[in-house]
Symmetry: D2
C-alpha cells in the first residue's frame, strides 16, 4: 500500500540548461519548481522524460535532483525519475535521490537489448530493495523500448513491498481499465499520456503525470478539481480547451516544446540537449497561438 | 448534417442460422430484433460485423436485411451494414437496403488489395450517390484491413451530402478527440469499440454501436442514461460492471461469443458460420459466469 | 509428398475485363495464358490475388477458371487460386476447379473476424478433404488479414495428405529458412514476394509465384535458369535488372500495374475492378520507362 | 569513397567482465580479439551492441577501446562502436577511439525522445566532423529505437565526406537491395542481421558484421569465401549448417548467448551486465548441442 497516497497533478519540470556552457541551470530549475508548487500542483517529478534525465551525466543528474528536491522543500511530495540502462546505475541514482530527500522514485527500465520478464523484474526489485522510499514502476514503450503489461506491473506491486504505484504512458486506455480491474480498484495508478488526461481520470487514475503545468497550470488543476467533484460538463469543457496544447507538446517532444513554451512565457529554460534541437520558428509560432488561445478564448471539445 | 440525429445505443443483432440447413433463421432474427427494440435501444443495426454480413451470400443478405427492417417496423431507426470488397457489390446492397426501408447504411470498405485514399473516396462516394438515405462511414482496421484517418473521414462528411455520420472502431480514443476537434464538435460520431464505451461518450460520441444489448440491454442503456444526465459516479459504476463482459465478447469475436451467450440466455441463435467455430466449453463456462455476475452481483471498476 | 513436383516460374495472369460491360473477357484471358505458356513458364496460376479472384462473383469466377484451364490445355500444370471468406465458398470453388481440370488449388484463408489456429486448420482441411487434387496453403498477411507461421504451415502439410505445398508471401525471408529447416529441406515451398525472388531461390524455394511474366517473361525465366545452374553472377545481374519492375508492380498493386503494363505492351486487359482504379498517367509513364529500360539497357544491382 | 575498403567478416567481440568485481577484463578481451584475428577475420569491431557498449561507463568504455585496438595491433582494421544518447557523448567517444588508433567508428544514434531526420543528420554530422577517420552509419531499429531509411543513410554518405559506409540490421533484406540501387552499387554496405548472412551477400553486402566468429570462426569465413568465389552450392551448405546457431544467438540476445557459448568453448568471458542475466541452464544445454552439431555433423538447409 502507498503511504504517500499521491492524488492529483504530478508536475514534470524541464531541466533548464545554461545558454553559456550547456550545464544544468540550477537557479532556473529552482525557480520553475517553485512556480509549480506555488501554482498548486500536488507533487513534483524532476528528472522524468521531460527533464531529459537520460541525457544527463552523473554529476549533472545529482545536481538537478538536489536542486529540485531543495526547491520543493517538502511542500508537496517529490518523485524523482530514474531511467537507466544498467541496474547498477539505476540503484545508484535511486540511493542518491533518497539521500537527497525524495519521497519516491519513478523507475523506467530502458532497454537496449530486449529484456525478458525475469530481467525486468530483477531490475525493478534491485532498485526497490536498495531504498526505503516508495517506488513507482513505469511503462512507456515509446521511450523505453520495452512494453510492460498491466499483469506484470500489478505483479510487481503485489510482490515487492515498496513498489506501490504504477505509471502508464502507452496511450492505450484499456491498459488503465485493466490495472483497475486487476487490483480491484485498489492500486493507485497514474496516467502519463497527456491527450488521455480526462478519460484516464474517468478510468480511475489517481493522478496525471504532466509537463503541461510548466506552461498552463490553471486549466490543468481545474480539470482535476472538476473530475474529483463529479462536474463532468466542466471537466469536458476544460479538457477540450487544453487538448490542442497537450497534443502539440506530445507530438513535438516534451523537452523541445515545453522549453520553447517557457521562452514564450518569459521564463526561458534554454534549449534541449543535442541531438534534440530547439523548436523551429514555424512551430514556435503555432505554440504561441495555442497558448494565446488557451489564455483567452475557450475552444471547447464539443458544443 | 444528419437528419436522423441518432443518439444513444445502436444495437447489433447477430444473424441466427438454422441448425438444420445453416440458412438464415428469419424467425429468430425477427424475435431478437424485437427484443432489442422492446428493451429500449435507440437504433438497430443488422448485418454489421456482428451479423456476419461478410459471410452471407446475396440472397441470404437480402433476406436478413428485409427481416430485420420489417421487425423493427419503424419503431426506431434501422442502420444496415455494408461490407463489400467491390464497389458494385456495395452499391447493390445499399440500394437494396434503401428499398427495404432502412434509414441509413453503414459502409465499411473491405480491403484485399490495399486501397489508396482516392480509391476509398470513390468507393464511399459511389455508394452514397446510389441512395437517398444517409450514410455512416466506418473505420475498423482490424476487420477491414484498411485504416481511415479522422481527417479522411471528416473530409468525406464535408464533401458528400448524405455522408453524415462516422463510426470509429480502431480502439484509439484519440481518434475520437480528433473527430470532435476537426468538426468543431458538430459531427455525430459513433463508437464501435466496446471496451471504450464510457470514455467514448465522455469524448463526445453521439452513440455506442454494440452487440452487448443482445445479452444485457439494461446496464448498456443505464450507462447511456447516466452519461447523458451527467451522473459520472453512476456511469463509472455501471461501466465497471459491464466491462468484463465487453472485454470477453470482443476478445472472443462478437458473432462467436454473442451466439454462445444467446444460447445461455435461452434464446439460441445457432452457431457462427465456418471457418468461425462455436465457443468452446471452457469459454462458454466463463461467459456464463460473467453473465451471472452481471445479473446479480456488481463488480465496480474502482472503489 | 507432392506428385506435381512444381519447380520454377509459376505465372499469375490478370483477369481481363471487357471495357464495354466490365465482365470477364475470356478471349483476352485465354490469349494471355497462351502467351505465358508459350514463353516457357513452368505452371500457370489463374485467379490468384493478381487475378482479382476476391472481386469476382461466382459465375465470373467459374468462367475465368474454365477459360484459364482450357487455355493451358495440359501443357503445364494449372494451380487455381481460392480466396474465400467462408469455408463453404472455398470448398465449392475448389471442387469446381478440380472438375474444370486444375492440377492443384492454392488456398488463402481470408480473415474478417480474426481466425484462431483451430479455425484455420479446419478451413484448410475442409477444402483439402473436398478434392482429390493437391493443395498449396498460402500465407499472405497483407491481403488475407491473417498471418500463418512456418510451424503452422508445415504442420498442415504433415497432417493432411493432399496438402503438399506452401506459398510464402509475407516478405520475411527468414520464414523461408524456417520452412526449409522444419521440413529438413523436403517441403516444396514457393515464394510469392517478387522483390525477394533471388534470395528466396537461394533459400531453397522450389518456385517463384509471380505476375511479372505477363510483362517480361524472358528475364524471369533467365533468373530461374541461372539459379538452377549455379551461375550466381548471372543470377545477380538479371535480378538487378528486374528488381525495379518487381518493386514497382508490388508497390502499386499487382492487378493495377500489370493491367497498365499489358496496355503498354499492346495487349490490353482492361482496368481493375472498382474500388481499384487504373494506374494514373504519371505512374504509367514510370512503368513505360521501366519496361523500356528492362528491354534495352541493363541496370545491374551492383557493379 | 571508403579508403578502408572493408570486405568480408567484421567480427564483434563481447566485452568480458571480471567475475570478481564486474569490471572490464582486459586480459580476456585482448585474448578474444587475438583469437579472432588469428582465425582470419577481416576486421574487428569492439564495443558494438555485442560488446555491451551502451552499458559501460566512460572509464570502462575507454579501457575496452584501448585494449581492443591494442590487441588488434594493426593486423586488420578496427571499427569501434559508438551508441550514445547525446551528441556530446558520441563526439567524445569517437575522438577517443581515433586517438586510440581505431580505423573507423560505427555510429548508432540511440533514441530516447524520438529524433526527426534533421536531428539524426546533425548527430551523425557532428560525430563525423569531430574525427578524421571514416564513419559507418548504422540502422538498427530494435536496439536504437529509431529506423533510418536507405534514402536517409545514402544521403548522409553523399553529403559528408568521411561518412563512407552503412550497416543495416533491420532484418529487411529489401533495405539492402535499396542501398545497392540508390548508390548504383558503389556504396559499401554491411549486413548486421546474422540470419540473413547469405542472402545479404547475394544482395551485394560488402561485409557481414557478426559475433558468430567468437564461437565458430571457420564456417563463417568459409561462407564468405564460397560467396566471393561464386560457389553457391557450398555457400548454401555452410549457411544451412550455421543458421541454427545464428538464429539462437540472435533470439537470445548476443551478449547473453555469446558469453554462454564462450564458457562452453572453454574461454569464459564472464556474464552480461544486469539487467541482462546469464543464459539459463536449459538454453545453455541447447547452445551446447548446437555447437556440437556444428563442429561435427553438418545439417544442411536443404537437400
Amino acid at each position: 500500500m502507498s503511504k504517500l497516497a499521491l492524488d492529483g497533478v504530478i508536475a514534470y519540470p524541464v531541466t533548464p540548461f545554461d545558454p553559456a556552457d550547456g550545464g544544468v541551470d540550477t537557479v532556473r530549475l529552482a525557480a520553475l519548481v517553485d512556480r509549480l508548487v506555488d501554482a498548486g500542483v500536488h507533487a513534483v517529478a524532476p528528472l522524468g522524460s521531460t527533464g531529459e534525465s537520460a541525457y544527463l551525466d552523473d554529476a549533472e543528474w545529482r545536481t538537478a535532483a538536489e536542486t529540485a528536491v531543495g526547491a520543493v522543500a517538502g511542500r508537496v511530495p517529490t518523485v524523482v525519475g530514474i531511467a537507466e540502462l544498467t541496474t547498477r546505475g539505476a540503484v545508484e541514482r535511486a540511493r542518491f535521490a533518497e539521500r537527497a530527500g525524495a519521497d519516491a522514485v519513478m523507475v523506467l527500465p530502458l532497454s537496449y537489448w530486449r529484456l525478458d520478464e525475469r530481467e525486468v523484474t530483477r531490475h525493478f526489485t534491485a532498485v526497490a530493495d536498495a531504498v526505503g522510499i516508495e517506488v513507482m514502476v513505469y511503462n512507456n514503450p515509446a521511450t523505453a523500448g520495452i512494453d510492460l503489461s498491466p499483469e506484470q506491473l500489478v505483479g510487481l506491486v503485489e510482490s515487492v513491498e515498496n513498489i506501490t504505484m504504477v505509471k502508464e504512458s502507452s496511450g492505450d486506455l484499456q491498459r488503465m481499465h485493466r490495472l483497475a480491474q486487476l487490483s480491484g480498484g485498489e492500486l493507485p495508478f497514474y496516467n502519463g499520456s497527456n491527450p488521455l488526461a480526462l478519460p484516464a481520470f474517468v478510468a480511475g487514475a489517481a493522478g496525471w503525470c504532466t509537463a503541461a503545468p510548466c506552461l498552463a497550470p490553471e486549466p490543468v488543476l481545474t480539470l482535476h478539481r472538476a473530475v474529483r467533484s463529479g462536474e463532468l460538463a466542466t471537466a469536458r469543457e476544460v479538457f477540450g480547451r487544453l487538448l490542442p496544447l497537450l497534443q502539440f507538446i506530445v507530438s513535438g517532444g516534451l523537452p523541445t516544446t515545453v522549453k520553447a513554451g517557457l521562452a514564450l512565457r518569459g521564463t526561458p529554460a534554454g534549449t534541449p540537449r543535442p541531438p534534440l534541437l530547439p523548436l523551429d520558428g514555424a512551430r514556435s509560432g503555432q505554440l504561441a497561438a495555442l497558448l494565446r488561445e488557451l489564455d483567452g478564448h475557450p475552444a471547447p471539445l464539443a458544443a
